[in-house]
């Protein structure tokens, strides 16, 4: 297990190095001059040139890359071209809202989806199963922004129960924090409920057709014990895989939800940075999230052996 861990960590460093090189080149070869955006529409070419020189954007690409790589190796992700704020500070500031949405969404999604999935598998082929799977297709097919606007209209504008937008830090109190996250969580969670419920149903149903389940059934093991202790546990590997991928996607991909609900998370940060061509932020966020993605995959892989002792690395 230890050698596997070391091997995975080494490959993580390699992946992140390649990601870094790729992102650096891609950004600098694409059109878009941060100096021109900073200077504003009335600025003269001379003023833009002065800003370019000040930011070092006129240096050869190799020099710029070397400067950036050296800083990254020392743990410094650089500073925003526009605000001169350290990228690591910006990422940390934005991490709380994104993690809040991601964690609540996964709690919401997993708790509902696993229950629905197991129920659907147990009642496979019956109306309950068809209803639940129909619901999951709907949840998966509805665009996030449509769900978001519908929820805003009903619960924020008409009923005035919940806020339309914004985020309150957890330090402002759990109540305001939670109230601001209910609509984003439901909006984002519906798709994950659908995804995990379908995967749970398929996995559990497959296990329910195994011989040992039939034997347990013949021996009179109660349905609840059979489902939760035998079927769900043995169907756990693919479900955990989907949840792991879901968490990774959630952290990096809540852009639409963050935009619709005006949450200052990582998604908004990177989209704003792309529109401004704020290279250090884009590079920093991608590097950090590549790392998180790889680590989550590692955690998922390691969890397999805990769930199913037959799996050994």
């Amino acid at each position: 297990m230890l050698s596997y861990l070391v091997q995975r960590l080494a490959s993580t460093i390699l992946v992140m190095t390649l990601v870094g090189i790729f992102v650096f080149l891609l950004l600098h070869l694409s059109a878009g001059d941060p100096a021109a955006i900073i200077a504003g529409d009335y600025a003269t070419p001379q003023q833009i040139l002065a800003i370019r020189q000040r930011l070092g954007l006129d240096d050869p690409l190799l020099v710029q890359f070397g400067r950036w790589a050296l800083r990254v190796v020392q743990g410094d992700l650089g500073v925003s071209i526009f605000t001169s704020t350290p990228v690591s500070t910006l990422i940390l500031q934005r991490m709380e809202p994104t993690l809040s949405v991601a964690v609540l969404t996964m709690i919401f999604a997993v708790s509902i989806a696993v229950t629905l999935g197991v129920l659907a598998a147990w009642k496979a082929g019956r109306p309950v199963d068809r209803l639940l799977m129909g619901f999951s297709v709907l949840g998966f097919s509805m665009p996030t922004f449509v769900v978001g606007y519908c929820l805003i209209y009903v619960f924020a504008i008409e009923l005035r129960w919940l806020p339309v937008q914004g985020y309150r830090p957890i330090m402002d109190g759990i109540g305001p924090w939670f109230l601001h996250l209910i609509l984003p969580t439901i909006t984002l969670g519906l798709a994950y409920v659908a995804l995990i419920a379908r995967m749970t149903r398929a996995s559990v149903q497959e296990v329910l057709e195994e011989d040992y389940i039939r034997t347990a059934n013949a021996k009179g093991v109660p349905a609840r014990t059979m489902l939760m202790k035998h079927a769900l546990k043995n169907a756990g590997v693919p479900i955990i895989t989907v949840i792991g991928i879901g968490v990774a996607l959630l952290i990096g991909g809540v852009v639409i939800t963050e935009t619709v609900f005006n949450i200052p998370g990582i998604g908004r940060l990177v989209v704003d940075a792309i529109s401004k061509r704020d290279y250090p932020i884009i590079q920093g966020v991608i590097l950090v999230f590549s790392g998180i993605y790889v680590l989550i995959n590692l955690a998922v892989d390691l969890s397999y052996s805990l769930i199913d002792p037959r799996i050994r690395h």
């Binding site: 900073i38 529409d41 070419p45 924020a156 339309v164 937008q165 402002d172 619709v260 704003d272």
Partner: protein, 533 residues
């Protein structure tokens, strides 16, 4: 240790108190909702230094934090603001300014003449008008803590106008410490003497920017008019909320979570029409002006006939309709200086009276000797009015005989490409579209886009010697009447050589929820004088 029920309850209460404590502390220091004004403005505030960038959002921010030596009234005439009195010597070369009493920066230090001189010099290094003035400046002697002079090499009629101008870059007064920063480098400390204090600790970059009332600010006694008069603040806090999604912003104002949207999406205006607490009001009564810049360095627009063709083929009403729908929000524009500015005039506008005229444009294209080479038109697809203008004007250009190559990208890519001077087939361009505040177009010297000084000038690089001479003459004029006459001469000449073409002037309303006293003016949202409720 065993966990008893009592211990469990005690632990729960302690945890609750710990979590609630920060909220309690914040509640004690945060103004109430009734005394907080939340506004969604046209963009994100990306840069805090109003000299380093010309971005309007930065100027809005600076207008809260900093004060100016002069302001303008509703006729755009300079009025003393931080200055108590001023005089001009008999030889019309030496201006003497005295600061009014009670001016203090928010760190408690008094505003001195040295701060003013340093601020003027930093502004003068970046602003178009400032650079024009600095080139003719002899000295800026400081007489005492409250008095300084601006000494010009020759009589120069625009000193006070430049110090008062409300269009970017505005000559905001900073502490000497910040004003001494290289003009090409951003300042990092934001301390002004304006009506608000920038509350950096409450800022969430990309989402929220907070300004608290400057309790020590001493407003002038005159009523507030544009950027002049008493900047009396009636709220405790103003928050710029950056809501990227326009539908969410509309929902937020309907739900009462915000008090103002500077430019609500025109497609969504109808949804606000029935709300009794929300009114739509055009604040920038001069509006915005859309313009098509043509590249003088390469065919076909290095030929005057091809440029004149652009004047004849554009249908401003159609371009505006495509984006702004309701005709009450737009109009055409025949004046080089924009409609509604003090320099607006009707010299040489026969082309406008007859436009659009595709047949005339066709004839001019033929006369220009255009050889059919592809004409590269840059299309910024992420900004609606630019996207629509590009689509429609490219179509009319095709009808007039141009072989148009419409090249789509985002605005970020357009601002890079428009700086390329190479031929269009080697990464350059022929036409791009943008817009600016009409207020800025009213000044032929400070707006860099008005220059026709060839490759040293703004993108498009028009070149006309007479135009440059007339701009200099305008700057040296000693009276408004003289300036207006020269503006006519400038326009007479310009619509012959065609530095650029306009595709419409628009007036987008703001949505206001229970707000009164908001001063409508171009290129700034003043949050003094405003009352909630």
């Amino acid at each position: 240790m065993t966990t008893t029920r009592r211990r469990f309850v005690q632990g729960g209460l302690a945890t609750g108190a710990a979590l609630a404590a920060p909220a309690t502390i914040r509640a004690q220091t945060t103004p109430s909702a009734a005394r907080t004004l939340k506004a969604v403005l046209h963009g994100d505030l990306r840069v805090f230094d109003p000299i380093w960038t010309t971005a309007n959002m930065t100027s809005y921010h600076a207008g809260m934090v900093y004060d100016t030596l002069f302001g303008v009234n509703d006729k755009f005439e300079p009025q003393p603001q931080m200055v108590s009195k001023w005089s001009l010597s008999d030889d019309r070369k030496t201006y003497t300014f005295e600061l009014r009493d009670g001016l203090r920066f928010t760190d408690g230090t008094p505003v001195t003449a040295k701060d003013c001189v340093a601020s003027i010099r930093r502004w003068g290094a970046r602003d178009g008008g400032g650079q024009h003035m600095m080139a003719r400046l002899a000295d800026t002697p400081v007489k005492d803590d409250k008095t300084f002079q601006i000494v010009m090499k020759e009589p120069y009629g625009l000193v006070v106008e430049w110090l008062a101008k409300a269009a970017t870059n505005v000559c905001y007064i900073m502490r000497e410490k910040e004003a001494g920063t290289d003009p090409n480098q951003q300042i990092s400390t934001i301390i002004g003497s304006g009506p608000f204090v920038f509350n950096e600790s409450a800022v969430v970059q990309g989402q929220r920017y907070v300004y608290d009332k400057n309790a020590n600010y001493v407003p002038r006694s005159e009523p507030a008019v544009m950027t002049s008069g008493g900047k009396v603040v009636n709220v405790d806090r103003v928050v710029y909320e950056n809501i990227a999604d326009e539908a969410t912003a509309i929902a937020a104002i309907r739900a009462g979570e915000i008090d103002m949207i500077e430019y609500p999406n025109v497609d969504l205006l109808d949804s606000l029409a029935g709300e009794k607490d929300i009114k739509l009001e055009v604040l920038n009564k001069q509006g915005q002006l859309g313009w098509a810049r043509v590249n003088w360095l390469h065919p076909p627009f290095n030929n005057v006939k091809a440029r004149q063709a652009m004047l004849h083929l554009i249908h401003p009403t159609e371009v505006m309709k495509a984006t702004f729908g309701d005709e009450k929000y737009f109009r055409g524009c025949s004046s080089l200086f924009g409609m509604g500015t003090p320099m607006e005039n009707d010299a040489n506008i026969d082309w406008f009276k007859g436009a659009p005229n595709i047949e005339k444009a066709k004839q001019l294209v033929k006369e220009s000797g255009y050889d059919g080479r592809p004409v590269v038109v840059l299309q910024a697809t992420n900004i609606a009015y630019m996207n629509n203008a590009a689509n429609l004007i490219a179509q009319w250009m095709r009808q007039a005989g141009f072989n148009v190559s419409l090249q789509a990208s985002d605005w970020g890519a357009v601002v890079t490409r428009r700086a390329v001077k190479a031929a269009p087939d080697q990464g350059g361009w022929n036409v791009f579209f943008t817009s600016g505040s009409v207020n800025a177009f009213g000044n032929p010297v400070s707006l860099s886009g008005h220059a026709a000084n060839g490759e040293k000038g703004w993108f498009g690089w028009p070149n006309n010697e007479l135009h440059e001479q007339l701009r200099d003459k305008w700057a040296g004029a000693q009276s408004d009447a003289e300036r207006k006459q020269i503006a006519r001469d400038i326009q007479q000449n310009a619509w012959d050589f065609v530095p650029h073409a306009y595709f419409g002037q628009w007036f987008q309303p703001a949505a206001l929820r229970n707000l009164t006293g908001l001063i409508g003016m171009p290129e700034l949202i003043p949050f003094w004088n405003v009352k909630k409720g």
